[in-house]
Point group: C2
Chain length 242, copies 2
């Protein structure tokens, strides 16, 4: 197994030499829909480097069951920020939103490797910085964007992290991610569809016009993606690729 063999962009970007400290510890792993990768308050077992599929970090209220999405992770990064930062558990829930597969490494192994290889550590910290920026902009989005804009933002972010133009997800699901009403998602979806930006079928949304979605999302989309390119050296946003 070598670095070129993985489809994880972060591993590619750090180069074969840096990645080589991790490779022996990887095991391939399916990411099944809904699978919890980290459970709030419990020790983190593995860090996952997705190669396909999308995972999200879900912020939970202590009580009352309120929740919103704090960030998305796909093949551009890894889960387990907490471990990279030296912790062993986090108050958030991390779960698979779009199925795929990953390479994973045991948390204790990752700690050992990081401890020995500070060059590698600093690469992983760079991604932790990106997640922090992403979460900060999620806060901005929740505070200032309208439902329709939040939806456009989420679709763009998700689109960046998958291959196809089609997302398998329900309105119910989106409503939880965006922290809004299910019926609200239905309406916003219609608006976007009416403008020809997406096409929605039952349990499925197809991205038709990224530019248009960016126009709708406005300033809600872009900063974390720009920072990714600056820090990692690979374009994050789809239209910036080849």
């Amino acid at each position: 197994m070598n670095a070129d063999a993985t489809e994880n962009l972060l591993l590619q970007a750090m180069g074969a030499e840096r990645a080589s400290a991790l490779l022996p510890h990887f095991e391939p792993c399916d990411l099944g829909l809904g699978m919890p990768l980290e459970t709030p308050g419990e020790p983190i077992e593995y860090a996952y480097f997705p190669e396909r599929g999308v995972v999200s970090v879900i912020v939970l209220a202590r009580e009352g069951g309120e929740q919103v999405e704090g960030g998305l992770i796909g093949r551009e990064g890894l889960t387990g920020q907490t471990v990279v930062l030296g912790g062993d558990r986090s108050p958030h829930l991390t779960r698979v939103q779009i199925p795929g597969h990953a390479r994973r490494i045991r948390a204790d192994r990752l700690r050992e490797v990081i401890e020995r290889d500070h060059d590698l550590q600093s690469w992983l910290l760079r991604f932790a910085q990106l997640m922090s920026i992403q979460t900060a902009h999620a806060a901005l989005a929740y505070a200032r964007l309208r439902l329709e804009e939040k939806l456009a933002r989420w679709l763009l972010m998700c689109h960046d992290r998958i291959e196809s133009d089609e997302l398998s997800l329900t309105h119910e699901f989106l409503s939880v991610m965006l922290g809004v009403r299910r019926a609200g998602v239905t309406v916003a979806t219609h608006t976007l569809e009416g403008e020809g930006l997406i096409r929605a079928r039952r349990g499925r949304i197809e991205i038709i016009d990224r530019r248009g979605l960016r126009r709708v999302a406005g300033a809600g989309y872009g900063t974390p993606e720009t920072e990714y390119e600056r820090l990692i050296g690979l374009p994050m946003s789809r239209e910036d690729r080849s």
Copy 2:
């Protein structure tokens, strides 16, 4: 200058030995109201360990001037997460919201010290983890709390970081922090005052009943504070102190 001489809680909590690597590089520094400690997109010059006063990290939209507060930092921590994570600049704005004073260290010095002393680095990373949790819960607050609840949450967080029970701030200021209308703050303030939780005078809010504010803030307050205690070993929330 030794660690006991500082009023910064993080420096106290890490112990004199760990802090000793930083102390020679510190210079005292006033934190004047409105002073920018980090400017978006520009190299960070100093990391600040506040001893009095409160600083906030402000998340900016690329255009349109929208902004919200991503997190608060007082004497329980330090600014310059980005530097601790190995970066040199961030897209956020960090500025003084409540005047006070701090010890500061040049960013490049901090980088050197961290590079040499990994035990110290891991302490500082621990606080980076806390800021990340705080921002995540800010996102939750913006998404799910009502104005009045957001206000209660903000007052509690600020109260934790100062000595007195009195805050010098205007409705206008709060409206920007919370990402809401100025008139909305006025109304919410009246509600809280009507319940006897605070007392508001021109440009000034006095905290009367913390318990009551916690009841209003509900699940919007608490998680980052609990985590602080778990990770740093000192109580963050006021009512948990002696």
